[in-house]
């Protein structure tokens, strides 16, 4: 009786050790759980065997601290970390990875259901999970939107990096700054086009108090990225001015895009071009304080254009 109690508390202690970020493979005692435990996670990870070895071994390292359940230990020698992707007990994907997969699958249902728990439920169903898995996420769809924004930002970084490589290899011309900014913002905004009808809903959800820290974080890191690839080396007050200006340009262009009904959003790109031109001219003035003040005026002007366009009769949602 006491031995059973001791075994149980020992197992709990072993489980708690896992919860700490110790990447220790030893277990205090073997699990007597049936082998079909976490069928979904393990099954999925077998697909990851197709990935290149380097990344999968990296994933094993990363997913283990997040995995709070000790998995069954094979009787033979310990599986190695170094390279063999696809060891049977090692590649459990973490819950976060599964959540990302569900959210990615849910994106295709957004045009129909909006950024809601229903879209997430449909996404879960396509992965073979029950619709109840959508309960893992907040019921207002915040995580779906944040996931999408983060995906877009990553895509943008990838694009900018590729461009930079081409320039370094001498296969492309280095663009002037204003052209670079215009192209970067346009590329990023074009990623919204498939979801443009439901995007206003997403914007309003991103402004909810509990989402503002994350959404602001994503926005600032994206702007930072763009300036980094634009070759911004400033270490003085210019750094803040540049970020503020570009953030203003991006936000106002996004708002204009929301109610732009011109073919292929021409009006939006023209608006973007004008704002970037203004910003570049502004950067030539010597007075930093004045330029910061003008950044504010740029933002207000953009908002005024948005409001006046909203009042024109041809624009319906």
């Amino acid at each position: 009786k006491m031995a059973a109690a001791a075994a149980i508390s020992l197992r709990r202690a072993g489980w708690r050790l896992w919860q700490g970020h110790a990447v220790i493979m030893c277990q205090l005692c073997p699990l007597q759980r049936p082998l079909q435990a976490s069928a979904v996670l393990r099954r999925v990870s077998e697909e990851q065997k197709k990935e290149p070895l380097a990344s999968s071994s990296q994933q094993q390292f990363d997913s283990h601290p997040a995995e709070h359940k000790p998995e069954k230990e094979p009787q033979g020698p310990r599986p190695s970390y170094t390279g063999q992707g696809g060891q049977e007990s090692e590649d459990y994907e973490s819950e976060e990875q599964l959540q990302h997969r569900i959210l990615t699958a849910a994106l295709e249902f957004v045009p129909e259901h909006g950024w809601t728990a229903e879209a997430i439920a449909e996404g879960a169903k396509t992965l073979g999970l029950s619709a109840a898995a959508a309960g893992m996420f907040h019921s207002d769809g915040s995580e779906l939107i944040l996931h999408f924004v983060s995906q877009c930002n990553t895509k943008l970084s990838g694009l900018l990096e590729q461009e930079q490589k081409l320039v370094q290899l001498g296969e492309a011309e280095k663009k002037p700054t204003d052209q670079f900014l215009r192209d970067a913002v346009e590329a990023r905004l074009r990623m919204l086009v498939p979801y443009i009808e439901k995007w206003p809903q997403a914007l309003s959800i991103l402004l909810l108090p509990h989402n503002i820290p994350s959404s602001l974080n994503l926005l600032t890191s994206m702007i930072d990225d763009i300036w980094h690839y634009a070759g911004d080396q400033s270490t003085d007050f210019n750094w803040y001015t540049r970020r503020a200006v570009l953030t203003g340009i991006y936000n106002t262009t996004e708002l204009v895009m929301m109610q732009d009904s011109s073919p292929d959003f021409e009006d939006t790109w023209r608006f973007l071009e004008n704002r970037v031109a203004d910003a570049t001219n502004m950067g030539n003035t010597a007075n930093q304080v004045q330029s910061t003040g003008e950044a504010v005026i740029q933002g207000l002007m953009g908002a005024a254009v948005t409001v006046s366009s909203a009042e024109s009769p041809e624009l319906q949602g």
Binding site: K1, A4, A5, I8, S9, R12, W15, R33, A37, S38, A39, V40, L41, H68, K69, E95, L98, A117, E118, A121, A124, L127, G128, L129, S130, A131, A132, A133, A134, G135, M136, S139
Partner: protein, 311 residues
């Protein structure tokens, strides 16, 4: 957890109840045939029988007693559980120890209203169709007012199921319900069948909680959700004192006055004290194989909702 239990035990030792000092991790986990029934020590078989008798005798007055003991707040708790579940039409729910059907009826109401909203939204999008097409689509949707959702109410106690069926007829719940006699430790269902498994104020009465959790894991589909609504541990010391006072002084008296059954309600209150607290139950749920296990305290711990996913 054990510390929280001690002042309570001290209170009762003065009454001379039969107490046994068991260490916290063994409490309720009955690796041996001996287990607890309230504050008594009994064998597992005896416990099952006694609990069956308890619910057999309280079945008719179960709902009335719930209302009077919790001052009607149990309805709010069950509503919160339903909102947390947020079921979409087409969900298959298994409500274990669901006797009188409270959760089942709420589920049906919820799904019905979600379905209505869905239909309304669909109609709005059909503004530019012909009248013929609209009426056709309207009719075919109307026939599935629940959208294929279904709830199976499973209970070990025949009397409780009887009361539940009568209630369903009385309140007009005709479709989407099934009533099954079954034991939570050994469910009469196939693997991977249900989207959601709930057990509201029932897991406390299960003799082998680990078996019940394993069964829950078995019958849930991958991605399915486990939800458990149960009385739990109050951490706030002042509230805990008041709660103890209310539990041990008022509730058995109410039981005698309203249901004519002091002992059953004494058992009820004692069983609440013997039930593992939030973190321990969370660990047990994780041991059964569930992921993303979390709990939400209602009324600062008087009741807690535990949730886990089969991933």
């Amino acid at each position: 957890a054990v510390a929280g239990l001690c002042p309570c035990r001290a209170l009762l030792s003065r009454r001379g109840g039969a107490l046994r000092a068991l260490c916290g991790s063994v409490r309720g986990l009955a690796a041996a045939p001996e287990t607890h029934f309230g504050f008594q020590t009994v064998t597992e078989e005896e416990r099952r029988e006694k609990i069956y008798q308890v619910f057999e005798s309280v079945a008719k007055k179960y709902d009335v007693m719930n209302d009077s003991m919790t001052l009607g707040i149990h309805r709010v708790w069950k509503d919160i559980l339903m909102h947390k579940m947020n079921p979409s039409p087409g969900t298959l729910l298994l409500d274990v120890a669901g006797g009188t059907g409270d959760i089942a009826f709420r589920f049906i109401n919820y799904v019905r209203s979600v379905r209505e909203r869905q239909l309304q939204r669909k109609l709005k999008h059909h503004q530019n169709l012909s009248w013929q097409e609209i009426s056709e689509s309207y009719q075919e949707d109307r026939s599935k007012s629940l959208g294929d959702s279904h709830v199976v109410v499973c209970d070990i106690n025949k009397e409780m199921l009887k009361v539940g069926k009568q209630k369903a007829q009385h309140l007009g719940y005709l479709e989407g319900l099934s009533w099954v006699l079954g034991n939570a430790e050994e469910l009469p269902f196939d693997d991977d069948k249900f989207d959601v498994y709930t057990i509201a104020f029932g897991i406390r009465n299960v003799t082998r909680i680990d078996l019940a959790l394993q069964e829950a894991y078995r019958v849930l589909k991958p991605g399915g959700r486990f939800l458990c609504l149960e009385f739990s541990h109050v951490s706030n010391p002042i509230l805990s004192r008041l709660y103890d006072l209310y539990s041990f002084q008022v509730i058995p008296v109410l039981g005698e006055v309203i249901a004519g059954d002091w002992k059953s309600y004494q058992y009820l209150v004692e069983s609440i004290r013997r039930f593992p607290p939030q973190e321990e139950l969370k660990a047990m749920i994780e041991d059964a194989g569930f992921f993303k296990v979390d709990y939400q305290n209602l009324n600062s711990g008087i009741v807690a909702i535990h949730s886990g996913f089969k991933l």
